[in-house]
């Protein structure tokens, strides 16, 4: 293991995504550091979720290269992998903007499905499982223990046997994060995890994400509109507008960037100079 805190886990180079004539992302390049929280922000329709879909294999980018480097030196070109390989082989996990839990299944089942790949291997691709081999029973118990570990972390152990669709909204968000963590990822991509949360829940989410970064040593890529979350926990922020990167840097730096303010407040380009002056004073 040649793990170094601070080396690059994800490198996105010249990423372009076109849907017919529409350019959703135009020549985007950025880097996400290992054991850090990188936030991807921008106004609605800036192309943030499209970037996510390209990284997680749901879209094939028109141009560009997305490189993922594991701590042990393994390198994956994500744009060449299909969606289930991005998760199963390259170990990139994601959540969705509109929660996509398996609503009719229990919370515990949701977390076990996330461990599908190791469990499939343990069940001898179902043959051993049907015959009832001990090996599989042991592997399943381990999987349940791991799921319970994450349920403890998100504070939902007592709801383990309830249907996922029965949980309140905030709890469903946490289950989705726990489910993503059960795939044992190296990079966790969260698409607006704080959307629809009240301030208390949002604060708890911050704690959870920092805990994941510090204790599990995970790298997180985050799309978020809630500036409290973004500024509170991000180590690095990338700002998109109309599919192009307009700013990139530490939170304080991005917050002061006139281009970012203009994009968020919707100011004309000519007025940029005035705002710059205002900030300077």
């Amino acid at each position: 293991m040649t793990e170094m805190a601070g080396d690059d886990i994800l490198t996105v180079e010249h990423l372009t995504m076109r849907f017919g004539g529409l350019v959703a992302i135009n020549d985007l390049s950025f880097v996400a550091k290992r054991r850090a929280i990188t936030a991807l922000i921008g106004p609605n329709g800036a192309g943030k979720t499209t970037v996510f879909n390209c990284i997680t294999g749901f879209y094939k980018p028109s141009e560009g290269m997305i490189t993922l480097r594991h701590a042990n030196g393994g390198t994956f070109l994500l744009e060449r992998l299909s969606d289930h390989q991005v998760s199963g082989v390259a170990h990139v996990a994601r959540t969705f903007q509109n929660i996509r839990l398996f609503a009719g299944m229990s919370v515990l089942e949701n977390l076990l499905i996330a461990q599908h790949r190791p469990l499939m291997r343990a069940s001898g691709y179902t043959v051993g499982g049907i015959l009832g081999l001990k090996h599989f029973a042991r592997a399943e118990q381990e999987a349940v223990d791991f799921a319970v570990h994450w349920l403890d972390k998100v504070g939902l152990t007592e709801r383990a046997d309830d249907a996922a669709g029965d949980l309140p909204y905030g709890a469903q968000r946490r289950v989705e994060i726990a489910r993503a963590m059960c795939t044992r990822p190296t990079l966790l991509c969260l698409d607006e995890p704080a959307a629809g949360l009240n301030p208390r829940e949002s604060h708890e989410l911050n704690q959870l994400l920092m805990n994941i970064r510090d204790e599990e040593g995970l790298s997180i890529l985050l799309i978020e509109h809630d500036m409290g979350v973004v500024m509170g926990i991000s180590d690095h922020i990338v700002v998109l507008d109309y599919g192009e990167k307009i700013s990139d840097g530490a939170p304080e730096q991005v917050r002061a960037d006139p281009a970012v303010i203009a994009a968020y407040l919707g100011v004309e380009d000519e007025e940029l100079g005035e705002i710059e002056k205002e900030i300077a004073t």
Partner: protein, 452 residues
């Protein structure tokens, strides 16, 4: 007369006007329903063809249509006042709710016993006093549909893939057995696994092109596949004997013992029993019971394995599955292959039971009936599918035998009635495959049917 009573009540006290308006609306509604029924009954019921010396003549029976209209009118009124109005105001009878709830509690305990009791009943059925040849034959038919229902349940109920061509695999199984028996002179027990494997193989072949499709499109392609298989069987005369079918399919043997009257390997002689034609039917009954139970056992096992959970996850949300590293293609293919394999087993049993098969036995209506069993039973529920098969096939044979002409009409009516009464099927609950504590049933409202 009704008109008069309505006007009378309308002129009554103003306090009762809301009630009378409701009455008038109810009568109007019932009248419209009755008229529609009358209109529908007119072409269906008013004339009957009778064979007479001078040929076919029409015998008018106008009263039938009037009766049908009257029944619908009265039924609609009764529904309005006795059922629908009460549902709107349930708190008006709390006295009734409490004892009902008290009654339901021990019933919930009984639920766990339904399965074992049904199983016991199925095992002892051939030895019950009423089990004559006709009943045994019917029981074999019902069990064949139970097995087919359980097989399709893997594809539709668990994986959420709407397959309208399931009968194709049933046909592949039946023809695999009949043809291998004919060309290679093999027996039932050798051919059974071959038929299953071949049908499963066809499941994969069908699976590949339809994997990209979802919902309605998948249904159409599977429907077409079912028809293609039937038409190939019908037209490939040199190989399948086309519409003439294949006859002389070997009967199953019990460890080499045959069910015949005399001879060296006769079952009756070997055990010193008196020969009875029933023996063969009892044997067939136990074969299909064993096959059906095998299907059930494997399905229950699979549901608790990662592959079964992945099927159910696929039904719930395919996109989320892909984000969790599940290979959706392979998972769908295994579901198709597994369901097809059990269809193939059932098909080869069908061939050996009948002794004769032709493409006519594998029409679309079979697929529709099997699908109806799965949907009525409650998608994904094993016990529900079994109950639905008994009700639909057994009930249909026993009760509606006399109304042969109206069979499909009654079939359709029952379907509509059950779907209104229990939109999610008989068993509208899903039991989780694993739990930390107690397994809590999940309401059918939350469980999705799948869109692919």
């Amino acid at each position: 007369m009704t008109q008069a009573s309505v006007t009378n009540t309308l002129n009554g006290a103003p306090g009762a006007s809301a009630g009378t308006e409701k009455m008038a609306a109810a009568f109007k509604e019932a009248l419209i329903a009755g008229l529609i029924a009358l209109g529908l009954a007119f072409p269906l019921l008013t004339h009957k063809t009778v064979q007479q010396a001078e040929g076919l003549v029409l015998e008018p029976r106008w009263l039938w249509a009037l009766i049908a209209g009257g029944v619908v009118f009265a039924g609609r009124l009764a529904l309005r006042f006795l059922v629908w109005d009460r549902q709107i105001t349930p708190p008006s009878m709390p006295g009734l709710v409490k004892p009902l709830a008290a009654l339901a509690r021990p019933l919930a305990g009984l639920r766990a016993w339904i399965g074992p009791v049904l199983l016991l009943l199925a095992v002892v059925f051939p030895f019950l006093p009423g089990a004559d040849r006709r009943m045994l034959d019917l029981a074999i038919l019902v069990l064949t549909y139970v097995m087919l229902g359980w097989g399709l349940n893997i594809v539709v109920g668990l994986a959420g893939l709407l397959d309208l061509g399931y009968v194709a695999f049933y046909a592949v199984g039946a023809y695999s057995f009949a043809l291998t028996a004919q060309y290679f002179d093999l027996g039932f027990w050798t051919c059974l696994p071959i038929a299953g494997v071949l049908a499963g193989f066809w499941g994969v072949i069908l699976g590949f092109p339809v994997l990209r499709l979802r919902g309605d499109y998948l249904a159409i392609v599977t429907l077409a596949f079912g028809e293609i298989v039937r038409i190939v069987l019908l037209n490939w005369y040199s190989f399948t004997n086309g519409p003439d079918g294949i006859s002389g399919i070997p009967k199953p043997t019990l460890f080499g013992l045959q069910f015949k009257r005399f001879g060296e390997n006769s079952f009756a002689d070997y055990f010193g029993l008196e020969y009875s034609t029933l023996h063969r039917f009892i044997f067939l009954y136990f074969i299909i019971l064993a096959l059906a139970l095998l299907t059930n056992y494997v399905t229950i096992r699979l549901r608790r394995l990662p592959i079964g959970r992945a099927w159910e996850a696929l039904r719930e949300d395919e996109v989320a599955c892909r984000s969790l590293g599940i290979n959706v293609t392979n998972t769908k293919l295994t579901a198709f292959a597994m369901g097809a394999m059990f269809g193939g087993f059932a098909g080869s049993f069908f061939a050996t039971r009948q002794g004769f098969i032709s493409p006519e036995s594998f029409t679309f209506i079979e697929s529709a009936i099997i699908l109806a069993i799965v949907v009525l039973g409650g998608m994904g529920s094993q016990i529900g599918v079994a109950v639905a098969a008994v009700v639909m096939i057994g009930g249909g044979e026993l009760v509606f035998r006399e109304f042969d002409l109206y069979r499909m009409l009654i079939f359709g009516l029952t379907m509509v009635a059950i779907m209104v009464w229990r939109p999610r099927g008989f068993v509208a609950k899903r039991t989780p495959s694993i739990a930390l504590g107690e397994r809590k049933a999940i309401s059918g409202e939350l469980v999705r049917e799948g869109d692919g």
